[in-house]
């Protein structure tokens, strides 16, 4: 069928394929090749070592906690921006993207300074016995900060498009506000919310810059997987670094597949006609 009128396919497709091959496929392929050349036994020994497993546990648990926090705060933030009119609303709307715009290393030193035991937040928190910097709590805060915009930005457009008639129907049928929120609004938001959650979680799993400053980086306690891959490099233990990085790559591809699935579902519910 391909009835081509427009010119430029060989040129543009050529540029695209060359770029993608050199910049994206080649390095990832080299990493997989390197990890695969280890042999199953060595590979398994490295990726299942106690220190590596501890780093997976810390990374996953902290990412879950950060995502949970963002679920509540991100939803509340999107709700307030969409449903209410108040002075400074547009400013807050623009600020939501700051965690994406701020380089991670900058966010890292800023959060560490805030939450250090003599910092603006760290000092009062230390007074009531809560230590944030150099503990898993610090990792959670860094992850929550860097991935906050995902949930707001996936939920916001759906919240804007909600049909008020459905809420009114609930009201006339005598449902309480809480019931309407839980049984009318939340189900409509669910696909977008899930997509946002998976993006936020995936980002937290891979985050590095913001975390390493605040984490303390103690093996078995506050060492994330990305840092372990980095440390192995600095020790010139390249096979170990390749193996651990490949685990992160597999996790990333898994999350990419999950996100795509959820996104496709979210689109089915939100895109009209």
């Amino acid at each position: 069928m391909a009835r081509r009128i427009l010119p430029g396919l060989p040129l543009t497709l050529g540029i695209t394929l060359v770029y993608v091959a050199i910049i994206v496929v080649l390095p990832l392929g080299a990493l997989i090749f390197k990890a695969a050349s280890l042999g199953p036994e060595d590979y398994w020994r490295i990726v299942s070592s106690e220190r590596a497993v501890a780093s997976y546990r810390i990374t996953i648990l902290c990412a879950l906690a950060a995502t949970l926090f963002n679920l509540v705060f991100g939803l509340a933030l999107a709700w307030v921006i969409v449903r209410y009119r108040f002075p400074g609303r547009r400013f807050v709307d623009a600020l939501v993207d700051l965690p994406f715009a701020l380089p991670t290393a900058v966010a890292g030193i800023a959060l560490t300074t805030l939450f250090a035991s003599n910092g603006w937040f760290g000092a009062p928190l230390a007074a009531i016995g809560i230590k944030v910097a150099y503990t898993p709590l610090g990792i959670i805060i860094a992850m929550a900060f860097t991935s906050l915009p995902f949930i707001v930005r996936t939920v916001q457009p759906v919240l804007e498009e909600l049909d008020p008639a459905l809420e009114e129907a609930g009201q006339t049928l005598g449902a309480s506000d809480m019931e309407i929120f839980l049984r009318v609004i939340l189900p409509q938001l669910a696909p977008a919310l899930l997509a946002g959650l998976s993006l936020s979680f995936a980002r937290s799993l891979g985050e590095f810059g913001a975390i390493i400053f605040i984490a303390g980086n103690q093996p078995f306690e506050t060492e994330i997987t990305a840092l372990l891959a980095f440390i192995r490099l600095e020790e010139y233990d390249y096979p170990a670094s390749a193996a651990i990085a490949s685990v992160m790559l597999i996790a990333a591809f898994t999350m990419l597949a999950v996100t795509n699935l959820l996104q496709a579902r979210a689109l089915r519910y939100t895109v009209k006609g």
Binding site: T12, V24, L26, P27, V80, T104, L114, A202, L267
Partner: protein, 295 residues
């Protein structure tokens, strides 16, 4: 009878509404504004003169130069790629289009550290081309080319993902009309397509630039961190911070924070012109607003 045009929607009760706004604004101040404020506060904690002296430090100046050079090389190449990819994917039908889209978006999902490690296994001494490069005396890693390549990896999707949904939505009719009237491909692109995509293109370029200048993880693996030689600004910040030179670190960080604020302002201005609004309608069904520097 109340004169409201419609019954109050849920959550509109004044007490609930005001509590929600107050709580959310307080959290925004604590979580988003405070980190920004602390950067400014720490950077100027020893006065403006000291700030100026720190910024003028030769290592800091060199790091700024490295970052600017990286962006000057990586962003235009990335932009050319993004435009080419968007043209190929939206103006033609060919098998594997969906797969190509997914591959372009992969860097969004990959941790910057993984990207850095992956580049090491291509150009590093223990990598695919390591020995060949060494015998040819070509230095890629631990030098500017490595930093540029890693930056191009993490930002590969930035321009393409702004253009593809938009050009998809705009269709091919205008371009087909132009070429059938005898315009060349280039003429069609510059006079028909470009005016329709210019804001989205600029939007993508600004986000790409902001990410290139702020990239830390991937660059920290491939740069080798030689002070005054291969340090970009984010790496230099880390170095100063670990040297217990907090004022220097925050002074350098304030440059990038200012860049972030400018990026946000530009983003809002461009969104008013419609950029960044069309998001991935159906083609790949991938990520909506992943970018904005980050990942």
């Amino acid at each position: 009878m109340a004169k409201t045009r419609r019954p109050p929607r849920i959550g509109d009760a004044p007490v609930f509404r005001n509590t929600m706004i107050a709580v959310v604004l307080a959290l925004v101040a604590l979580i988003i504004i405070a980190p920004l404020a602390v950067i400014g506060y720490e950077a100027f904690s020893k006065g403006i003169a000291y700030f100026g002296k720190t910024i003028a430090n030769s290592d800091t100046r060199h790091a700024i130069l490295m970052t600017a050079m990286t962006a000057l090389i990586a962003v235009p190449i990335n932009t050319a790629f993004g435009v080419a990819a968007a043209w190929a994917i939206t103006k033609f039908d060919f098998p594997g289009r969906r797969l190509l889209l997914i591959v372009i978006e992969i860097p969004f999902s990959v941790s910057p550290i993984v990207a850095g490690v992956a580049y090491l296994f291509v150009y590093g001494l223990q990598g695919l081309f390591g020995e060949a490069l060494q015998s040819a005396d070509v230095k890629i890693l631990f030098a500017l080319p490595g930093i540029v390549l890693a930056s191009m990896f993490v930002t590969a999707p930035f321009v393409a993902r702004e253009l593809i949904p938009l050009m998809q939505a705009q269709g091919r009719d205008l371009e087909e009309a132009a070429t059938s009237l005898g315009a060349s491909g280039w003429r069609t692109f510059f006079f028909v397509t470009l005016p329709n995509i210019k804001w989205a293109l600029l939007y993508g370029v600004i986000l790409c630039n902001s990410r290139v200048m702020g990239e830390f993880g991937a660059v920290s693996v491939v740069s080798g961190n030689i002070r005054g030689q291969t340090n970009t600004l984010p790496l230099h910040i880390e170095l100063l911070y670990h040297d217990y030179n907090a004022v220097g670190a925050f002074a350098a960080a304030s440059i990038l924070a200012a860049l972030a604020v400018v990026t946000l302002i530009a983003k809002v201005a461009l969104e008013r012109r419609g950029a960044g609004r069309v998001r991935r309608p159906s083609l790949a069904g991938t990520a909506p607003d992943i970018s904005e520097t980050t990942p």
